[in-house]
Symmetry: C2
Subunit: 398 residues, 2 copies
C-alpha cells in the first residue's frame, strides 16, 4: 500500500523535540537538551496519596467526564489564578493535555491555513511545529533583555495583521528571559489597539529564583484594562509532574467554548484520573511550599552550571543569567554552528538543543539552549566538561 500523506505532513521539517526526548532515554549521554524537570524533586508521596484518594472517592475517577475538564479542579485552579491577579470563572477555563494541547487547539480555533501569526525571536520550538503543521506563516519580532521590542511588534502588526501573537513573557523558552513591567504594558497596549489576540504561554512563571519577585501576567494586566485580548495557558508539568499531562487555558468564554468543540473532536477529554489526582493533591498538599523548594533547587542548579561553564574559560561564550525557569541560553563563539557542534558533542557524550530550532527563519546559528534542571552535581560537572571539550575541539578544527 502506498499511502498519500497530507501536504501539511510533508512540510514538517523534522521532529526535534521528539528526537531530543529519544536521546535522553536509556543512554549514557548527559542531556542538557530536553526540558525535563528534576525527577528526584517529584512529589511522589503526595501523588501516591492523591491517587489513592481519587480512586477511593468513588468510581467517577474512572468514568468519562466533561470535555471542559473536571469541575472541582477548574474551581481550585480559579482560586490559584485569582491569587495571581487573574479572575476567571470555571466556564472561562478549559483543562487540556498539557499546555501544548491548548496551543494546538487555539491554532485550530483562531486560524486558517495561510494566516500569519507573530512570535518572539527566538521562541518555543514545539509551537513553531504546530504553526508549521497548520500551514501558518510565522513572523518573528526582535527582542532584547527586557522583552519583545515594541516598535518592531507595532511595525509587524501593521504590516501583517497577524491572527494572534504568541509569547512566553516570564522565563521564556529558550532564552529564560523575563519581560519588564514597562514592556508588558507597552506590548499589551499595542495588541489592544490593533485587536490582536495574545496567547500568553506561562509554563515556567512559578519557577522564580527570587521568591519575592513579582511578574504580573499579561492576562492580569489586561483584566485591569478590561479588553479581553489575552488567552493565558499554563500547566502542572513543571510544578507537579509532566506525566499527568494536565494544563489549562483561560480567557473569553466564547473562545473557551470553541476550544471545547475542538477538543471534543481531538480526544473527547483529558484523563479524568489525572485531573482527579491533581484535584486531590491541591486539596491536601501544600503545592506552593513545594514550588518554593523546586525553584530554590533550580536556582542552585542554574548557578552551579554557570560557575562550571565560567571555570572552563571558553572565549566568546556569553549568556544572561536567568531569574527563573529551566534554561540557560548561550551565545557561542562567533561563527560556530551549534548544529554542527551538537554532532561532536553527542560523540563526546553530551547533548543540548541548537538554537536554530527556536527560530522560524534566519536562525542565529551560534546559539544553544542548555537545560540545567534535570542534572546536578557530578552529572552536570561531567556534561559541562564534555561540552567544553567539544567546543574546544570544534574551534581548533575550524
Amino acid at each position: 500500500m502506498e499511502f498519500r500523506f497530507a501536504s501539511r505532513m510533508t512540510q514538517v521539517k523534522s521532529s526535534v523535540v521528539r528526537d531530543i526526548l529519544k536521546l535522553t532515554q536509556g543512554s549514557d549521554i548527559v542531556s542538557f537538551a530536553g526540558g525535563l524537570p528534576a525527577e528526584e524533586l517529584f512529589p511522589v508521596q503526595a501523588v501516591r496519596e492523591a491517587a489513592d484518594r481519587a480512586i477511593s472517592a468513588g468510581t467517577s475517577a474512572l468514568q468519562y467526564g466533561l470535555t471542559e475538564g473536571y469541575l472541582p479542579l477548574r474551581e481550585q485552579l480559579c482560586v490559584r489564578m485569582a491569587q495571581k491577579g487573574m479572575n476567571v470563572k470555571p466556564e472561562e477555563m478549559i483543562i487540556t493535555t498539557g499546555s501544548q494541547q491548548a496551543i494546538s487547539l487555539l491554532v485550530q480555533v483562531l486560524t486558517e491555513p495561510g494566516d500569519t501569526v507573530l512570535v518572539e525571536r527566538p521562541t518555543y520550538l514545539a509551537c513553531l511545529q504546530v504553526f508549521e503543521l497548520h500551514g501558518l506563516k510565522v513572523i518573528a519580532a526582535e527582542s532584547d533583555e527586557h522583552g519583545m521590542i515594541p516598535e518592531d511588534v507595532e511595525r509587524l502588526v501593521r504590516l501583517h495583521k497577524p491572527k494572534f501573537m504568541y509569547a512566553v513573557p516570564t522565563f521564556g523558552n529558550p532564552t529564560g528571559n523575563v519581560w519588564s513591567l514597562e514592556r508588558r504594558q507597552q506590548l499589551l497596549q499595542i495588541c489592544v489597539n490593533h485587536q490582536v489576540p495574545i496567547i500568553e504561554d506561562d509554563p515556567y512563571g512559578e519557577l522564580k529564583y527570587d521568591e519575592k519577585a513579582a511578574y504580573p501576567t499579561l492576562f492580569a494586566l489586561d483584566q485591569q484594562l478590561g479588553s479581553g485580548v489575552v488567552i493565558y495557558t499554563s500547566t502542572f508539568s513543571k510544578t507537579v509532574a509532566p506525566a499527568l499531562r494536565t494544563g489549562w487555558a483561560i480567557g473569553d468564554a466564547r473562545v473557551i467554548k470553541m476550544l471545547a468543540v475542538a477538543k471534543q473532536a481531538a480526544d473527547l477529554q483529558s484523563s479524568t484520573m489525572d485531573q482527579q489526582i491533581l484535584s486531590q493533591l491541591l486539596a491536601h498538599f501544600p503545592l506552593d511550599d513545594h514550588i518554593r523548594v523546586i525553584s530554590e533547587s533550580y536556582g542552585d542548579r542554574m548557578r552551579e552550571m554557570q560557575n562550571l561553564i565560567r571555570a572552563q574559560k571558553i572565549e566568546g561564550l556569553h549568556w544572561i543569567e536567568p531569574k527563573g525557569g529551566m534554561f540557560l541560553w548561550v551565545e557561542l563563539p562567533e561563527g560556530l554552528d551549534a548544529e554542527a557542534l551538537l554532532r561532536v558533542a553527542v560523540s563526546k557524550g553530551v547533548a543540548f538543543v541548537p538554537g536554530s530550532a527556536f527560530y522560524a527563519y534566519d536562525p542565529k546559528r551560534n546559539t544553544a539552549r542548555l537545560n540545567f534542571t534535570h542534572n546536578k552535581g557530578a552529572r552536570t560537572v561531567l556534561g559541562v566538561e564534555r561540552l567544553a571539550e567539544a567546543i574546544r575541539e570544534f574551534t581548533a578544527r575550524s
Copy 2:
C-alpha cells in the same frame, strides 16, 4: 475584543456528544444516551494496585515519555494483538488519548480539507464531527444486518475515490451490528483493489455476549493478504476504564511515524501515568477474565432492556438483537421524529440519542440509540417506562 473564529469552527453544527455527557451528570434523568460503561464493574482495586505499583516502580511514571507511547505497554499490547491474529511490532503502534485521538490524527495525516471520506450509514457521531471540523466531504454507503453493502461501497469508491473508508465492523456504534466474515472479505478486497486505506475502529470488539464467537478483524484478514491497507484502532475505555484515556493505533510503520509527528504537535504525548498504570494492570490482573465478566453482564442488561421494551407492546418499534457492544438501535414508529421525541422524553426524565446524529446527511429520523450498559435493574425499568410514556404521548399528539 471581537474574536474572529476559523471558518472550520463555524461549520460545526453542534456538539451532540458533549451535550449528552452534560445531560448525564448530576441530574435525575435516566440516561440511555451516553456510551458510558457500568461504573460498578470498573476494576477499581486492580487500578488502585496498578497505580501504586506504577508510582513505586520509579519516578519515570511522573516524567515525560515518548510521543509514541510507553514502550513496555506497546510490547504488552503487541502480545494482545497477536492473540487476535494481528501481528505487529511496537514501532507499528502508537498510544493515543483514547481511540478518538487516533481518528483525529489519522484525519490530519491522510487528508486535506475538501477531500472525501467514506463511512457506513449510520456511523459513529464523534467521527462525523472530526470530519466536519477538518472540512471533509463525507459519503455514506448503505448497510444491512451483514455489514456495508459491497456493491454500494464499490460504486461510491469508483465515483468519489475517497481518501479512506472509516468503519466499525464489530458491534458498530450506533447499530450494534456485526459484519459477516463474507462481507469483511468482500469489503476488504474492494479497498485493496482500489487502494483505499481502511480505518478500522474497534472499541467494542472484545465485548462479545457469546464468548466463543469469533469475528476476525479486517486488520487480521488483511495481514493474510499482505496488503497493509488497514489501520486499526482500539481502546481500554470499554474494557478497563474510560478515565485513563488510553487507546492505540496499529498499521504501516510510515503511517505510525506520521501520526507521531502530528501527535507531538497536538499534545507531545498521552499521560505517562495512565500508560504505566495500564502496563502494571496488564502484568498483574487477569484482564481477559474481567472482560468476560463485563461482557456477560452487558449481555444480561441488553436482554433485560429488550424484554422491558417488548413488555410495553409499542406498535411499530423494531430492532435487531445485538451480539455485543453497548447499544440497541431502535426503529421507532414510521413518521416519528426522534429529535422531537427527545424533548418530550427529557421532560419525562429519560434521555437517548436521536438517530439523526449518526447520519452525515439524509438522516433516518425515526431511529434512536439506546445505551443499556450504564443502567440496570430499577433504573432501566424506570427509564423504559418513561420512554414508553413519551412515545405514547407523542404518537397520541401527532
